[in-house]
């Protein structure tokens, strides 16, 4: 009998050793700060994780960041946002804007080629954009991105003719676009994937051209697709015929699809991946502190806001003072420091500071309990209530959302003496109940598609769509409308800022924090661009000799 106990003991012991080993602290590599050793390595291969299968690699149908991360390398629009965040010419060699800001004339780059050897022409752009706007092509969720073009919305939604869409290839080299209203960010938008050209003759002949890697997957960007194993791996290689091929140093980009964060982290630690984290993937929350300690964590702002929407139609959040009280009683710094941990900026405004710089300060003080209590009393009085009923706080199922909701529950309980009930739902169910207005306070987030405040302000222009708060304001709508007609940049910004002032005075939502890009990469990986819009560009990247 004694022997058996021994066996058991040994087993338990081994087990505990295995478990103990799991908790062991990782010693990451040091970040070397001298940038002298920038010689190119012989092997220009970059290994990254894009997490999941891109839902569509047809630029007209893509709507998500994973597809965007591939498309931005394989295709190129009229313009491209460069490393300094400036819009520069890409497929367009030059452009002219009319004085009223309504007509854009693009000259397509001479010698720009598709991967099958065809020249890239203005007709390809006209074809691609009209394809998106053709009501016969469903699944083009992002068609509305093109609605500033004259006649676009009418053609897609109101039975207008595609011939009336004001985009015209005057000849192979000249593309003329007329806009409905002067749009300050139109040039930047032409760098977005919905505006990418497609090879008209290939697409015409093969409706399924973008389904797989094949000779029909004809592209015009700095990289070509070499293989696409669905749900597994995409391999890109350098496009030797790209007009700016001299700039492109990377020969191969291997994009694997590993969904599990911890697996990706282990692969990174083992050197199987060169990049871990934003924008195509994320670092496991638990690993952030140790990377931070080793000083290998890179953090850059991401134009997006995480917020709690109030249902402004139902008591008690129909009262502005109550909304303000709840918003002020949140300790954002605490949430950012202890839960999300990626140096997100506490948000006391709607538009991220990467767009409106002064919003780093915000409209009110973070965690202002005194003011919150005063407002709460005032609000209760206005509503004729003696005390606050129990509040329901909804969020979709996720570890991070749950942790934040629990923290906020505690803050409201302690600060405002309000009982908060947490309510989580699976994503699809959650969007449904938010849309139906079946919530009091609900978590949401928004990431910008282009670097302009209108991205955030527009959501709340009218009820419905992405505005779950049921809040509308005539003055606010007026200001946005005015801003669309305003061609002067400073005056336009002023109008948008006024609109935000109204929004923050009414406060139909409690902003929590502005997102950040968080990643770590191997020292040898240089010059890869992560934009505040969560786009990644490998065009300028290279592998330095170690």
């Amino acid at each position: 009998m004694k022997k058996n106990w021994l066996v058991l003991l040994v087993l338990v012991f081994t087990m505990s050793m295995i478990l103990a080993a799991c908790g062991e602290e990782k010693t990451g590599e040091k970040k070397d700060n001298d940038k002298g050793t920038d010689k190119l390595a012989a092997d220009q291969t970059l290994n990254v994780n894009i997490r999941s299968e891109p839902p569509s690699l047809n630029p007209a149908l893509a709507t998500d960041t994973t597809s965007g991360a591939v498309l931005n390398q394989t295709f190129e629009g009229l313009m491209r946002v460069n490393q300094e965040g400036k819009v520069e010419e890409a497929m367009a060699e030059s452009y002219e804007v009319s004085d009223d800001g309504l007509t854009y004339t693009f000259k397509i780059r001479e010698g720009a080629k598709w991967s099958n050897g065809d020249p890239v022409t203005a007709k390809d752009f006209e074809y691609a954009w009209k394809w998106v706007l053709d009501p016969a092509n469903v699944d083009t969720d992002y068609a509305y991105q093109l609605y500033m073009i004259k006649g676009a919305e009418a053609a897609k939604e109101k039975g207008g003719s595609l011939d009336d869409v004001a985009v015209k290839a005057e000849d192979d080299q000249t593309l003329v676009v007329e806009l409905e209203q002067a749009t300050a960010y139109f040039l930047e938008l032409t760098a977005f994937y919905t505006f990418f050209p497609v090879n008209a003759s290939v697409v015409e002949a093969n409706p399924n051209w973008a389904q797989d890697q094949s000779e029909n997957y004809v592209t015009n960007g700095p990289f070509l697709m070499e293989s696409w194993k669905h749900k597994d791996e995409i391999v890109l290689k350098k496009n030797p015929d790209y007009w700016d091929a001299d700039t492109v140093k990377l020969e191969t980009i291997k994009m694997v699809m590993i969904e599990e964060e911890n697996t990706a982290k282990q692969m990174y630690d083992k050197g199987e991946l060169d990049w871990l984290g934003s924008p195509t993937d994320s670092i496991p929350l638990a690993a952030i502190p140790s990377y931070k300690k080793d000083d290998v964590l890179n953090i850059s702002p991401l134009a997006g806001v995480y917020y709690y929407a109030f249902n402004t139609e139902a008591e008690p959040f129909n009262n502005v003072n109550i909304r303000k009280a709840f918003a002020m009683a949140i300790n954002r710094q605490g949430i950012v420091d202890n839960i999300t941990q990626a140096e997100q900026a506490p948000a006391m405004a709607l538009v991220p500071p990467s767009i409106f710089e002064e919003n780093a300060e915000g409209y009110f003080k973070d965690n202002d309990l005194e003011e919150a209590k005063k407002l709460m009393e005032k609000g209760l009085e206005e509503l004729g209530l003696s005390e606050m009923p129990t509040i329901k706080l909804s969020y979709n199922t996720s570890e991070a959302h749950a942790a934040i909701a629990q923290a906020v529950q505690d803050m409201w309980k302690k600060g405002l003496e309000v009982d908060v009930e947490l309510h989580n739902e699976e994503w699809g169910v959650y969007l449904d109940s938010m849309g139906a207005g079946d919530f009091q306070v609900g978590r949401m987030g928004w990431l910008a598609d282009f670097n302009d405040a209108i991205n955030f302000l527009e959501i709340f222009e009218s009820v419905g769509g992405n505005n779950y708060t049921n809040w509308e304001n005539a003055e606010y709508q007026g200001l946005l409308k005015e801003s669309r007609a305003e061609t002067d940049v400073a005056a336009r910004e002023d109008l948008l800022r006024k609109a935000e002032d109204i929004f923050m005075e009414e406060l139909p939502l409690a902003p929590i924090y502005f997102y950040t890009n968080v990643w770590t990469n191997k020292d040898k990986v240089k010059n890869i661009e992560v934009s505040p819009l969560g786009l990644v560009q490998y065009k300028w990247g290279y592998i330095a000799e170690e």
């Binding site: 058996n4 469903v138 969720d141 699809g428």
Partner: protein, 311 residues
């Protein structure tokens, strides 16, 4: 025998009809739809999509259309992955799950039966207890914990095997073992108890007193009878393992069917939900049938033709 088979296939078809109907109902009842997304598109565009995918048709029409296409094994394109046919998705992801599953079943069966038999023969001895402690651990440690521990030891610390992905035989070893642990432990326990029972039976005593060697008695006379409970456990196990495990596939980054199965529900990808469900059900029902046939072959006392309905 032919009549029995026909009858069983009839039952399979009826079960399938029930499964399809219930899944269809649940799917339509679940809030949200394939076009719900964080970024709402304009209502007009959404209407166009609903129309194009036939989601505006009356529900009974959708149901019958669905039944017809299921009968033809043509489920249409996925909603989420533009243009990819459901049959293509199943075709490309099933081989991964199949290979991994076969490997796991092989491991579970080989080691499970071996361990169970050893434990039974050395009843109440040290090796019996060791095997049973391992078995208890195997059953109680969830596969995803096992997967992470295996990854940690064999890939991170010892650098013997790759961490994840599915590119060579070496890549399959860890996920196959992680997948096999629970069934292995279960089979070992099943095998041990039924072997113990069999070893005490009269005919074994007869065989022994005839002077047959221990080995012949156990492997020829004992094993054949003792393995029956394991065989009946194999039916659902095979179907379950071959269609892939969501967690194992996710941890090891394997593009298998198990992930499609679960993710399609999250995405409300109606066509993929129905496709994978029908595929899984067919596999399950067929493997149960096969297990029943194997039963008759191992144990001639079980007369299939007479048994019929109550299987």
């Amino acid at each position: 025998m032919a009549r029995y088979l026909l009858k069983r296939i009839g039952y399979i078809l009826v079960s399938l009809l029930f499964i399809i109907t219930i899944t269809f109902g649940l799917m339509k009842l679940a809030p949200g739809g394939p076009f719900t997304s964080e970024r709402k598109t304009s209502p007009a565009i959404e209407r166009q999509m609903q129309e194009a995918y036939g989601l505006n048709d009356p529900i009974h029409e959708q149901y019958f259309n669905y039944l017809i296409s299921a009968a033809k094994f043509d489920f249409g394109p996925s909603f989420k992955y533009e243009g990819q046919e459901v049959t293509d998705i199943i075709k490309r992801s099933f081989p991964y799950s199949l290979l991994l599953g076969l490997e796991a079943i092989f491991i579970a069966l080989a080691f499970g039966v071996l361990f169970g038999t050893i434990a039974a023969i050395r009843h109440n001895k040290a090796s019996d207890y060791t095997v049973m402690v391992i078995a208890i651990l195997g059953i109680s440690v969830p596969s995803f914990v096992m997967a992470t521990i295996l990854q940690f030891i064999f890939s991170m610390k010892l650098s013997l095997l790759p961490i994840a992905r599915f590119e060579s035989f070496a890549h399959t070893i860890l996920p196959a073992f992680a997948l096999a642990t629970t069934p292995l432990a279960f089979i070992a326990r099943l095998m041990r108890s039924s072997m113990l029972e069999v070893l005490n039976a009269d005919y074994i005593k007869t065989a022994k007193s005839k002077g047959l060697s221990e080995r012949v008695v156990i492997y020829k006379h004992g094993l054949r009878n003792a393995i029956l409970p394991v065989v009946s456990y194999l039916g659902p196990l095979v179907a379950g393992i071959l269609t892939g495990s969501f967690i194992i596939e996710k941890i090891f980054g394997i593009p298998g069917l198990g992930r499609e199965f679960v993710e399609s529900v999250t995405n409300r990808d109606y066509t993929v939900i129905m496709g994978t469900t029908v595929f899984f059900s067919v596999l399950l029902l067929i493997s149960i049938l096969v297990v029943d046939l194997i039963y008759g072959w191992i144990d001639p006392r079980i007369k299939l033709a007479n048994k019929g309905a109550n299987s």
